[in-house]
């Protein structure tokens, strides 16, 4: 029994039902070159705002408001009918901009999907159902008899989330669990024999998964087209715009050691005290103390050190020496060296891995025995306070930092720490541990005159 019928009439009144496009095909519109760029910049502001919000660990309700505000502020057009065009044009321009590397695609995919999710939630339930039918989702409504048989379990799931099971006529969809990964991950659905029971107010997950997988494929195709033909045809017109657009917002990835140049093993101690952000300082102290770090910690610290300018041979020497009391040289070569070389692009698929950004570190999920992650997010309050005091942050500044932490502004908390430790302001804010390092070095060098 299919519950999802086509509420959306074939043609004319489409626009009346929903303003949320699925971006299935590129628009057949003439676009002025000027708008091409301006629209794209406006949409980028929205996506960047979303990215910041996610980085701060904002809750869904807060994100909902944020997305609505960002959209209102940037995507409005003086002519109402132009607004839909601006939406579509800007999306397709950014597809071109962000299709070109794996890293860019990942970022774009994640931000566009988040944007779509909240815009879908703003839609009326009728419009939502229309969008669902457009995706041709493989879902069946649960029959009354079946509903009765699983009612207790569905109620249990609802209560586990602090909700109550809606009235008896509540609609549930039964879908393969693979279709709703985020609901599975959060244990927000009842799963039985491979099927998840999705409540009407959860269908957004279903739609978003479809949107995401469609866009992901589309980005790969766009990339192929871009590299095979478009780039050459457009090398004087669109290509420069496209290439300039992405760097203006994503910021550097710190994969290559910056002007700071190289550091050697013996410098690490010194730099750890003066210029490491707390997340790295903590990992460094732990490896000193325990002579070991679990995989997540080795990755986070190892790639940071690479970005700071530690060469592969030095990195091998550093980890080997730190692990030495617990791990024999032989075992080190066998179990750990491969991963370090891998990080430097010398093994496996030979990708030169980039150091982790704040956003990645904040969203990581350290488990038992792990020391990686963002201290502002993952430490208990007491542990964080103690760590800040050890860094030399005054008790008043500690309170300011904790205030940001309580409001889940982890990067702002780190920025305040930076300012307290260095006694000077950091207007740009901290977005990347390697940026913390570079900014710190700049300040220290200007204080000491020139330091070799």
């Amino acid at each position: 029994m299919e519950v999802v019928q086509s509420h959306r009439k074939p043609s004319s009144n489409n626009v009346a039902v929903s303003t949320l496009p699925l971006y299935r095909s590129a628009p057949l519109l003439e676009v002025r070159l000027e708008d091409f760029e301006l629209f794209a910049m406006d949409r980028l502001r929205v996506l960047k705002g979303i990215s910041d919000g996610l980085g701060r660990g904002k809750k869904p309700e807060e994100m909902e408001k944020l997305v609505a505000d960002l959209w209102k502020a940037n995507m409005r057009h003086p002519q109402a009918n132009e607004e839909a065009n601006k939406d579509i044009i800007s999306h397709f321009v950014l597809r071109l901009v962000y299709c070109r590397t794996e890293e860019l695609r990942k970022w774009f995919l994640s931000m566009e999907t988040t944007l779509f999710r909240y815009r879908f939630r703003f839609e009326s339930s009728e419009a939502q159902r229309a969008l669902m039918s457009e995706f041709k989702l493989p879902c069946k409504a649960v029959s009354n008899a079946e509903f009765e048989s699983v009612k207790d379990k569905l109620g249990q799931v609802a209560r586990s989330m602090g909700q109550t099971l809606a009235a008896a006529d509540a609609i549930f969809y039964k879908v393969p669990f693979e279709e709703v990964p985020e609901l599975v991950a959060g244990r927000r659905v009842f799963i039985y024999k491979g099927h998840a029971y999705v409540a009407m107010n959860q269908v957004v997950s279903l739609v978003v998964t479809q949107f995401r997988s469609y866009l992901s494929k589309a980005l790969i195709l766009t990339n192929r087209k871009w590299t095979s033909t478009v780039r050459e045809h457009e090398k004087d017109r669109l290509a420069p715009i496209v290439e300039a657009l992405c760097t203006s917002y994503l910021g550097p990835d710190y994969s290559q050691p910056n002007e700071a140049g190289e550091i050697s093993v013996k410098d690490i101690d010194h730099f750890a005290k003066t210029s490491f952000p707390l997340c790295m300082r903590h990992l460094f102290e732990k490896v000193r103390e325990d002579h070991h770090l679990k995989h997540g910690g080795r990755m986070q610290l190892g790639l940071f050190l690479k970005g700071v300018g530690l060469k592969l041979d030095d990195a091998l020497a550093f980890w080997k020496a730190e692990f030495a009391p617990k791990v024999s040289a032989e075992r080190f070569d066998k179990e750990y060296a491969y991963n370090i070389r891998h990080n430097y692009g010398r093994e496996g698929k030979r990708t030169d891995y980039t150091p982790y950004s704040c956003q990645k570190i904040i969203s990581s999920t350290p488990g038992v025995g792990d020391h990686h992650g963002c201290p502002y997010r993952h430490f208990s309050e007491e542990n964080l306070k103690a760590a800040l005091v050890r860094m030399g942050v005054s008790s008043r500044a500690v309170e300011d930092v904790m205030d940001k932490v309580r409001n889940r502004h982890y990067q702002l908390a780190c920025t305040l720490t930076f300012e307290a430790v260095h006694g000077s302001s950091c207007d740009a804010g901290i977005n990347h541990p390697n940026q913390y390092f570079i900014d710190s070095q700049k300040i220290l060098q200007s204080k000491n005159g020139s330091v070799a």
Binding site: Q156, G162, V184, R187, F190, I191, G194, T365, G369
Partner: protein, 453 residues
């Protein structure tokens, strides 16, 4: 060493062993490994497994399938060779016998033959070489339980702490079957300190990384890390049905009957403090602490002191006057933190993670990575798993037997191979054939329809 030399070396060993049958030293030995690969390792069964019914007999078989699977070997001198692939059981068997790997890992099935990945990479910017199929795997390691066991630490394991692995098998196996609907699940002893799980249903092998991560997260209850207090948090007024079932059917009983008394979790202050720390209300914790400090000497009753104190803790936390949900939930949180399975999440989340093959021999313990029957996992005893030297002894003892169909029938490995075949491989291959058949029929039907047009 060339292949010929390797083989003659192996024969020498057998003869040598025959003469002084009891002179086999314990532990791991490269020469014994050669015998093991020569006579005992079930090459054909492993190959059949990895082929998933694509054996060329059915017209719809994917003949390239097995050849796109990555195997990797760790050799004696720690040389690590990745991206090996084999097109026939003879190729696989010859390579294993020749290289005599200390460890064999199994990786994903790629879009193209992994051994020829560089040739495909020339094609251009597109990432053609990519994993397309992989069993859903889980890795549970006793070293991750160091904060809740007092009998051993690190890689050591004994019969006191092994049951933690047993209940991990029970919890995960039930959920994989009942919740996710998987049927073809293989549990394997990792040879030393843990267990591996291979979920082999077609549906499981084709999961995306995102879907794998979702399943791993479904199983995850540990939110804390080394720098925050709470390692477990069970929010909400009731538990999700999966957690509730795990709690009532497995964890609670195990914690109270085995874990509490065997690990003496509440017997002394140092240990009970760890549990009191998990109570969010300081006054409740200090009330209990006071009572336990007082009756330190008075507790000469016959009842186990751990159980007595646990009952006290429960009655205080669950008594009518504790209205706050957090405190009532606390009892469950204690049980979960001490018993709930701790998965190595990264292994399960990505298709391209390598995992040690079953029937390898662990170089440190010499024990064979044998399958574990989840229906009888209580009976599994890691200290009696056959070792390499024991198997070689058994082979030598039965050296003249001609009647046995397979060499392993006369050894203590026989049961494990038999279990692997009858309980795992045969049902798996049967459903693979059915899947191949039905997709073939669907295609036939489709082409018929287009012809009719």
């Amino acid at each position: 060493m060339t292949k010929e030399e390797a083989e003659s070396g192996r024969d020498d060993m057998v003869i040598d062993g025959d003469e002084k049958a009891n002179a086999v030293p314990e532990g791991f030995d490269a020469n014994y490994l050669r015998i093991y690969y020569g006579k005992l390792f079930p090459h054909a069964d492993m190959f059949k497994w990895m082929s998933y019914g694509n054996d060329g007999k059915h017209p719809a078989c994917d003949r390239s399938y097995i050849g796109r699977r990555e195997f990797s070997f760790t050799l004696e001198n720690d040389i690590y060779i990745r991206f090996q692939s084999f097109n026939s059981v003879t190729e696989l068997e010859n390579s294993i016998k020749e290289k005599c790997p200390f460890k064999i890992d199994i990786g994903p099935v790629y879009s193209v033959d992994p051994a020829k990945r560089h040739a495909y990479a020339q094609g251009g910017g597109d990432n053609v070489f990519t994993p397309v199929e992989r069993e859903l795997v889980f890795d549970i390691d006793i070293t991750d339980y160091d904060d809740v066991r007092y009998c051993c630490t690190g890689a050591d394991v004994c019969l006191e702490c092994w049951p933690l692995m047993t209940i991990a098998i029970k919890v995960i196996d039930t959920a994989l079957r009942d919740d996710f609907g998987f049927n073809h699940i293989l549990w394997v002893y990792s040879g030393r300190r843990g267990v591996h799980c291979w979920v082999c249903d077609g549906k499981a092998r084709r999961l995306t990384n995102e879907q794998r991560a979702a399943i791993a997260d479904y199983f995850r209850v540990y939110k804390g890390n080394e720098n925050s207090h709470k390692k477990i948090s069970l929010p909400g007024p009731v538990l999700h049905p999966f957690l509730a079932r795990s709690y009532t059917e497995v964890l609670k009983g195990f914690f109270e009957a085995k874990m509490l008394p065997n690990q003496n979790l509440l017997s002394c202050q140092e240990r009970y403090e760890k549990i009191l720390e998990m109570i969010p209300d300081a006054s409740v914790a200090s009330e209990l602490r006071g009572r336990w400090q007082e009756n330190k000497r008075a507790s000469m009753s016959k009842d186990d002191i751990n159980l007595v104190r646990w009952e006290q803790l429960k009655s205080v936390l669950q008594s009518g006057k504790q209205k706050t949900q957090g405190l009532r939930r606390c009892v469950e949180e204690v049980v979960f933190s001490f018993t709930y399975p701790r998965l190595d999440m990264e292994v399960s989340k990505h298709m391209n993670h390598l995992l040690k093959a079953p029937f390898c021999v662990h170089p440190k313990t010499g024990r064979v990575c044998v399958p574990i029957d989840p229906n009888n996992c209580d009976e599994f005893d890691p200290t009696t798993v056959p070792t390499l030297s024991q198997l070689v002894k058994e082979l030598n003892r039965g050296g003249l037997r001609q009647d046995a169909e397979n060499e392993w029938d006369g050894t203590s490995l026989g049961e494990s191979v038999k279990f692997f075949r009858t309980s795992f491989l045969q049902p798996l291959l049967k459903s693979c054939k059915e899947e191949i058949e039905s997709s073939y029929n669907a295609k036939l039907q489709q082409s018929k329809n287009t012809l009719n047009w």
